[in-house]
Symmetry: C2
Subunit: 159 residues, 2 copies
DNA sequence: TATTGTTATACTCTATAACTATA
DNA sequence: TATAGTTATAGAGTATAACAATA
């Protein structure tokens, strides 16, 4: 049984009612996520003059060297198409990604990293990894695994 | 031991490298958080024509009937002062919160819910709770507790 | 007709820094 | 001098809807 803190100094000061456990869990999940995300955003901005959505887009492309269509990117990044166009435009301007033709469908593009984009991403990813490792510093590897599995159950229920 | 999925359709397609476990955990945490947050934002917008930051501010005030100073709100909501002023202004205009004087310090205000704000918040909070309960539907109460504790460790390491 | 992607628009949230008033 | 709060600004991120080109 978990005992509720009487009060805290952040978002978690919100839980009450009969479903207090679910609410507290959500607020803590949100707080953790926001704190880590804030650290990542700050790092990306200060050290690489870029943003999280741009990093995320490049990360998707790094996993798919052949490239991804705009619509696929939109789906994976969980944002609407117009936004992907905007972010892609920026990255194209900076020479980090490129639009290539899709044979058989002249409406679509396949977006992929340029060589420069790959080099740039590798550099950022290395630092990004460090920030994340630091964020979970307090957990042992079994706890990391366990947390991963529990969140998998959450994620599965959300689909 | 957790086995990495070969590929997924969302942000989690990003993990690699020697610290793959930490990275995967972060991406899953982020995905869960984003999905739930998206549901909450959509619900607040569609059913109450409001936003998450506004809801969060009101939630803080509901926990502190005597009111909170702008600076305290800023700290608890993890945003800078200017933003709190903006959101508070909106809520004051709509008659949901009010600024009251702090005796002994004429620079400061104490912001608190109006009666109308309390009623409005209670309504929103009820629906909000439902969305959250649904989000964790797949978990048993012991898993909820366990997840809460593990995230507590994460949170503790971030401070 | 449906789909891919772009454009245009508007709005929310955010950080930063300069500013006012008070301590 | 320091602190509480506001104002002004600029930028990031988002959703929506109308649009063009192609399927």
């Amino acid at each position: 049984m978990t005992t509720a803190p009487l009060d805290t100094l952040d978002l978690e000061a919100r839980a009450h009612s009969e479903h207090a456990h679910e609410l507290r869990l959500w607020l803590r999940l949100l707080t953790c996520s926001q704190l880590i995300e804030k650290r990542v955003r700050t790092g990306l901005r200060e050290q690489f003059d870029t943003t999280l959505p741009r990093f995320d887009l490049m990360a998707q492309l790094e996993r798919h060297p052949a490239g991804l269509k705009m619509k696929e990117l939109s789906h994976r990044l969980m944002v609407t198409g117009g936004n992907v166009t905007g972010i892609t435009d920026q990255l194209v301007t900076e020479g980090l990604v490129e639009r290539t033709e899709v044979e058989g469908d002249r409406r679509a593009f396949r977006v992929r990293l340029t060589e420069r984009g790959r080099v740039s991403f590798a550099d950022m990813a290395q630092h990004h990894e460090q920030w994340i490792v630091e964020a979970f510093d307090g957990l042992g590897s079994r706890e990391i695994d366990h947390l991963y599995k529990l969140l998998g159950k959450v994620k599965g229920g959300l689909k």
